[in-house]
Structure formats: structure tokens, C-alpha cells
């Protein structure tokens, strides 16, 4: 079979067109466009709790419940404060009456009278959802009702949740509960409606002592980021590999 010059040129042009077509799908992107294309945000919400500043007043819990319409007189809360009393004989007492909604006003711990002379150390630890980088509660949802946003907040879609409770069991921090009114899984949202408007969360705003702070961990100039990067911080239950994003200052080994 003879291959003429004409045939060779036609085949070459066709080949060039075929290879050029997919190339046209590529396009030079500016760094901003490239970031937008892979949907990366410049925001990752993180939280900082300074346990040394907490006095156990519970204003954060009160503010959270009223802000987020969590039924006030039920024992469920999105955030709560725990009291730890470690006695000189090594025993540990811990409680959080009504999630510390009304603060700690009684020296009795779990109805037990504690002699002040027996106390080795005593302190308060505020807790809330850790908005983990690897949230186990999200992995177990069978219907896709709970999810993590691009900026790190773990949220629940109330209209999609079937109330099976898997996520409540999966959370190692006990941060989730069943909402008594909506009959769905409920949890701290980092006050997503507030932080996305440039406000602080209700608990951060209500804390008189600055024990709670929220910040953007992707912003190197954010006070929370500076503290997390330069101070000795710790997280709760690191061994679970959930990569919690609520950092603690002055955390005691007895805190669980």
C-alpha cells in the first residue's frame, strides 16, 4: 500500500487537532482561582479554652442555651462546665449539675460534703464540641445528615436527620445529644450563624474572664492561632486520633 504525501499531511493535521482538543481544557489559573477550584478556604475555626481563668460561673452555658434555643430547663447542653475536685488521698470527684447552667454555688460535689482541708486541687473545665479534623460522628451517619463545612464546623441537618443516635454514641467527648423538641441529633455549631457574620460565639462573648476564645487557625495573626502555635496547649483524648480543634491551656491529667 502506498502512502501519498497528501494522505500523510491530512493524517498529520487530524492528529494535531485530536491532541490539541484536550489541551484546550487546561488553562492557566491564578493562585486564587486555583484555591477556589479545589474549594479550599482561608478559614478553619478553632477554639481555645484557658482552664486557669474559668471560675465556674456558667454564664457561657446560659448564653449558649438561650442563643441556640436549647430547651432551658432540660439537662442537655451544647457546652458545659465540669468541676474537678482531687482529694489528697488520690480520689477524684467530678460533677456538672445541669451542665453548670447556673454555675457552681455549692461546696458539695455530687451531694457529698468535701472538707476543704482534704482538697489537693480543684478547678473547672469548660467543654464543647471539638469540631475535630477527623470527626467520628460524621463518619457513622448513615444518611448524610451530619457533615463538616469547608471551614471546619461540624453541623447537623435537622431536616435530614433520622434520629438514629449513631453519632451520639460515636462522639468520644459526649458532645452530642438528642434534641428534645426536634427529635434529631444536636450539637455545638461554634455558633455558625454568629462566626460567619464576624461575631464571637455566644459563650465566648458571655465569658467575663476570657477563658474562652474562638479564632481562625489559618490566620497566622489570629490571637488563638498564635497561642496554639507558641504556647503549651493540649487537647482532649488525643489518643482517639480525632484531631480535636478545641485547644486547652492548663489542662490537668485527671481531666477526661
Amino acid at each position: 500500500m502506498r502512502f501519498t504525501r497528501r494522505e500523510f499531511l491530512i493524517t498529520a493535521v487530524k492528529g494535531a487537532i485530536v491532541t490539541a482538543l484536550p489541551m484546550s481544557a487546561f488553562k492557566l489559573l491564578t493562585p486564587d482561582e486555583a484555591m477556589a477550584a479545589v474549594k479550599k478556604t482561608r478559614v478553619r475555626w478553632g477554639f481555645l479554652v484557658d482552664t486557669r481563668k474559668c471560675v465556674g460561673c456558667g454564664f457561657c452555658v446560659k448564653a449558649c442555651k438561650l442563643e441556640n434555643e436549647v430547651p432551658y430547663d432540660t439537662p442537655v447542653t451544647r457546652t458545659w462546665v465540669e468541676r474537678y475536685v482531687i482529694l489528697k488521698d488520690g480520689k477524684m470527684l467530678a460533677d456538672t449539675p445541669m451542665g453548670a447552667r447556673d454555675g457552681f454555688t455549692d461546696q458539695k460535689v455530687q451531694e457529698k460534703v468535701v472538707n476543704p482541708k482534704d482538697i489537693a486541687k480543684a478547678f473547672f473545665v469548660p467543654k464543647l464540641c471539638n469540631h475535630c479534623e477527623r470527626p467520628p460522628c460524621v463518619q457513622v451517619c448513615p444518611v448524610g445528615a451530619t457533615y463538616q463545612t469547608a471551614d471546619g464546623a461540624v453541623l447537623v441537618d435537622r431536616s435530614w436527620c433520622i434520629g438514629c443516635g449513631y453519632c451520639i454514641m460515636a462522639c468520644p467527648y459526649g458532645a452530642r445529644f438528642f434534641h428534645p423538641v426536634y427529635r434529631t441529633a444536636e450539637k455545638c455549631t461554634f455558633c455558625y450563624h454568629r462566626i460567619t457574620k464576624g461575631l464571637k460565639t455566644a459563650c465566648v462573648q458571655a465569658c467575663p474572664f476570657g477563658a474562652r476564645q474562638i479564632g481562625n487557625l489559618k490566620d497566622p495573626n489570629d490571637p488563638v492561632t498564635i497561642t496554639v502555635l507558641t504556647k503549651r496547649v493540649s487537647v482532649l483524648k488525643d489518643e482517639y486520633g480525632t484531631k480535636p480543634q478545641v485547644y486547652y491551656l492548663g489542662l490537668d491529667e485527671n481531666v477526661r
Binding site: 454555675g103 454555688t105 461546696q107 460524621v138 451530619t146 463545612t149 441537618d157 435530614w160 474572664f209
Partner: protein, 157 residues
């Protein structure tokens, strides 16, 4: 293809097709895999906007200051300046339209949140002036003697 063996197959295929058709109507169009991948953000996208649209109730002292500048400056001269107005007066929401009036919590329990004495030396609680509620005028409201905006008892009668 008229064998009884194939009959259940057609039924199964029919169920599958019907399920796929029903799915088109039931599953919202914005439901899918989000930015954090299938494992962490398989969800209905518009729910994010629903959460963002939630009503803000605590407006902060800067909002109170717009009208109650006198009260604002009075508390800013005291040790209680660290406490937000809404911690005691309740969330402002859309005050003065809705609610028209805020209810002030004047119960002893409110003051006791910080000022009830607890013997916890390692906690910041021990730096706050504390008293034992059962011993210090148990039948009286704190506000009968103490002004929450000026808690120091200078010039007190």
C-alpha cells in the same frame, strides 16, 4: 424468556428502576459530596445557609451602649465591667421592638455564680471576693444593699 426462573428477576429490576426514579424526586438537587470529601461532607449544601440564617440573640454591650450610654459608662468604671450586660439582663434579641422590656435577673443565685465561696485555690475562683451564702444575710436579695453596676461599697450607708 418465559421461564418462571426469570419472573422474579423482572420484579427485582422493576423495584430497582422504581427506586431510582423515586430517588430523583426525594433527594434534594443540592445533595452531594462537599469540600471535605465523601467521608466528612456528604450532605445537603443548602443546610449550611440555613444554619447561617439562624437568629442572633446576644447582641453584646456595644449594642446596649447605643441607647443606654449612661448605664454603660457607669459599669465600665467598676470591677463588673468584665460582665456583659446581657449576662444579667437577658439576651437583647430585637429590643426595644421585640422584646419591649428585658427582665432583669436580681436573684441571689445570679451573684452566687461567682461570689459563692469555694475553697479552690488552684482556680481563678479564689481570686474573686467570695462569701458563704448561708451565713451572709440569707433572706435578703443582694441588690437590696449592693449595686451590681458599682459593687464596691464605698459611700455605702
Amino acid at each position: 424468556m418465559k421461564s418462571h426462573v426469570f419472573r422474579p428477576l423482572w420484579i427485582i429490576l422493576g423495584v430497582v428502576v422504581l427506586s431510582l426514579i423515586a430517588r430523583q424526586f426525594i433527594v434534594p438537587s443540592d445533595f452531594g459530596v462537599g469540600e471535605r470529601g465523601f467521608m466528612y461532607s456528604f450532605h445537603r449544601k443548602s443546610n449550611e445557609e440555613e444554619w447561617k440564617a439562624f437568629k442572633v440573640k446576644y447582641r453584646s454591650r456595644e449594642y446596649c451602649k447605643e441607647c443606654h450610654d449612661d448605664k454603660y459608662s457607669s459599669i465600665m468604671d467598676s470591677k463588673h465591667k468584665i460582665i456583659q450586660c446581657e449576662n444579667c439582663h437577658g439576651p437583647a434579641i430585637d429590643h426595644p421592638e421585640d422584646p419591649e422590656k428585658l427582665t432583669i435577673d436580681t436573684r441571689r443565685a445570679l451573684c452566687l455564680r461567682c461570689h459563692s465561696y469555694l475553697p479552690y485555690k488552684q482556680s481563678y475562683r479564689s481570686k474573686i471576693k467570695g462569701f458563704i451564702p448561708e451565713e451572709h444575710n440569707p433572706d435578703m436579695e443582694c441588690v437590696m444593699c449592693h449595686d451590681p453596676h458599682e459593687p464596691d461599697l464605698e459611700g455605702w450607708q
